[in-house]
Symmetry: C2
Subunit: 463 residues, 2 copies
Amino acid sequence: MKDKNSSIVPELREILATGDSKPLRDFCESRHPAVIAEFISALSSQEAWTVLRHVNTPFRSEILGYLDEDLQVEIVESLSREEIVLLLADMSSDDRAHLFKQLPKKLRESVLPALARAEREDVRCLSAYREGTAGAVMTSDYATLSPQLTVYQAIEHLREAAPDKETIYYAYVVDEGRKLLGFVSLKDLIVARRDTRVGDIMNPKVIFARVEDDQEDVARKMQKYDLIALPVLNGGEVIVGIVTFDDIQDVMVDEATEDFHGMGAISNKAHPGLANIDMRDAGILLLVQNRLPWLLLLVFMNVFSGAAIAHFEDMIQAAVALVFFLPLLVDSGGNAGSQAATLMVRALATGRAKLSDWFLLLGKEVLVAGLLGLSMGAAVSLVGVFRAGPEIALVVSITMVCTVLFGSLVGMSLPFLLSKLRMDPATASAPLITSVADIGGILIYFSIATYALGDMIRAAGAP
Amino acid sequence: MKDKNSSIVPELREILATGDSKPLRDFCESRHPAVIAEFISALSSQEAWTVLRHVNTPFRSEILGYLDEDLQVEIVESLSREEIVLLLADMSSDDRAHLFKQLPKKLRESVLPALARAEREDVRCLSAYREGTAGAVMTSDYATLSPQLTVYQAIEHLREAAPDKETIYYAYVVDEGRKLLGFVSLKDLIVARRDTRVGDIMNPKVIFARVEDDQEDVARKMQKYDLIALPVLNGGEVIVGIVTFDDIQDVMVDEATEDFHGMGAISNKAHPGLANIDMRDAGILLLVQNRLPWLLLLVFMNVFSGAAIAHFEDMIQAAVALVFFLPLLVDSGGNAGSQAATLMVRALATGRAKLSDWFLLLGKEVLVAGLLGLSMGAAVSLVGVFRAGPEIALVVSITMVCTVLFGSLVGMSLPFLLSKLRMDPATASAPLITSVADIGGILIYFSIATYALGDMIRAAGAP
């Protein structure tokens, strides 16, 4: 999230132009790294690096962690191997692994051997986890304690470890093999008597995740239990990392953005990073690539709508008045369907509905859509009578009830079906539902019309 | 977020049936309050209270805070005034104010005088803030320190205050009038020398919010700076509360849900709580009330589409082949528009675009939509030639470019316009954009057709 309208950017450029280190350092060190990152995003990668070079290395690495991934990579690519190694050494373990994964293969291979052994292992290990899993968002900078320590010793230990840890507010109690035994918060330690053993005050029932768990599930779990951090275990019950609340907030926002885009029929296959990009920076071609696939697919679905209309060509020519009601009927089905799909996609994403609830919710949707259809049928019957007489009004009202029911049931069921097929429920986009409801609506409308008005049309339509 | 399929609910019911306190207490106290809340949600309010009565009061109040608002109110309404007062006394300040606001006026008036003075003032004060503001999500259980304290004294102070505070990881340094002077984290205190003064190690540049700030802005600020808590100041620079990360995560999820619903043309005016309700519990009438307004409005918008078609009735009768392409052309405009609206609504909500970026982004959208329109125009020209000959194919392709451009520009601009008018940008729902694009698309299509095929149609259409 950037603020490009800031008036501080010109000020920063002026300081840069003087070439003086002192004012530049003062400028940066009096500000939050997230703020510096914002300013830097408005500069060229060359200028950005000039600014970063003037702050001390831990602060520099911290600022880097707040930058967009693309800019991070751009800056790092312009540096020498030695500069990159220094920079990576000071980054937090999760930010470092993220950045490393984004670098071109050649650069990765040249940088990796130059890292210190512990960092090398850490990078190698963390960057091996699949994107979207707990393993890929966790950090290995967490605090552990041995159960034999006294509370006094534990606090001393955390004090010493603090500079290198992502958080010391939660500490994990482990045995010699780093198997997770329990959990203590710094609050527990502060409140406890100094000579108590950590093992006696720890909570042995720790809420944890597995490395391969979906990051969305991790986010939901942390939100449910209001956790600042959550330990991540491997198959052997050994702690291998923690996920912190700030990273999980970013995950929540990005996952919601992906769902939004899905519901708007924007693919995130062509360029998976779209959820992460500032709209002002998103490239034209990238947007076209992410938007065109669904648009084309939907065009070809709409060919069926066209074919359905063409099938009833004779009837349309005989009773053109029917066409007046076509958009209104067909769109209502699509609209009710979009509503139902939206409710279900979001409920599935937030855990307010589950796959197994489909049947229960289907029953409810039949009632809701029935009431909606009847209300709307009553409303359009007025338009119908006024515009085209009682027969057509009746056809239009009955069709309205049917299309709203059809659209709603398709809309509410599709997210469940997609989810069942292990696809993203948010693929059930409003445009997709609209197209399906269009085809259904046209067939329903003209079938009812044929049945009800057959004689009338035959009489009128005879050449 | 509940899990109603849990097999533990029957177990809980069995324990309830025995009427024994001991196993019930053991059952509850070995579990996280969020988990007990989940189980309790599956019980009747009568049973729920029986469970709650058997755990100690602070734990009971904590569990209550995890329950859905509706259930909280239901339980509280079934209690005596004395029981309510005991329960409220132990709740966290923000949960208490929330619950209090939901109670019927009569109950509020009978309970308020029975609360202890400090609690009464706190409830009165917190519940006065408008929903959706920082004031309404903050808690008054925060830790403050005086700058004269030594680090040792400060830690001692936090140790004593811990049980009553939402967090002791962040402490706010204030003067005698509670004006905010600075901020220290417990980590800062732990790391610092024991005899240092708090005033010397505090960070005087505190990131804060104002009571009347929008909760979404507070959420974005906390996410940007990775904060566990954020102090909230009144006009006199006096700290009146803090917002904690867990409450802000709930805000983020609820705001995203509201935007989702908005984009799906689901109103949240009729019942503002829809974003908060479990789909399995949502009432039929509540759903109808929230869905019907937009559906009806859109029906009447679609009357214009019908009227537009009716206006070209003669042409349709003369060249029915045109109708085949109508859904495909008109929907493509709506689909491209929905995509553009979705991208903008989400970018505006996450700060990845701002009101002032409209013109820049409009220029970009012209290019993107132009490219999309040309690609789709090329695709449908094939269908056109095959189906209806080169003249109609040309009309269809040109119309495609125009409708996609029209839909996209309307779709991308509407969220900005709504935002400018201080309305929710998410009101620019896919169904609304679709209806606007329908009307525009029909007019564009038949105008181009009239212009291009006029002679042909006049020749064919002559009776």
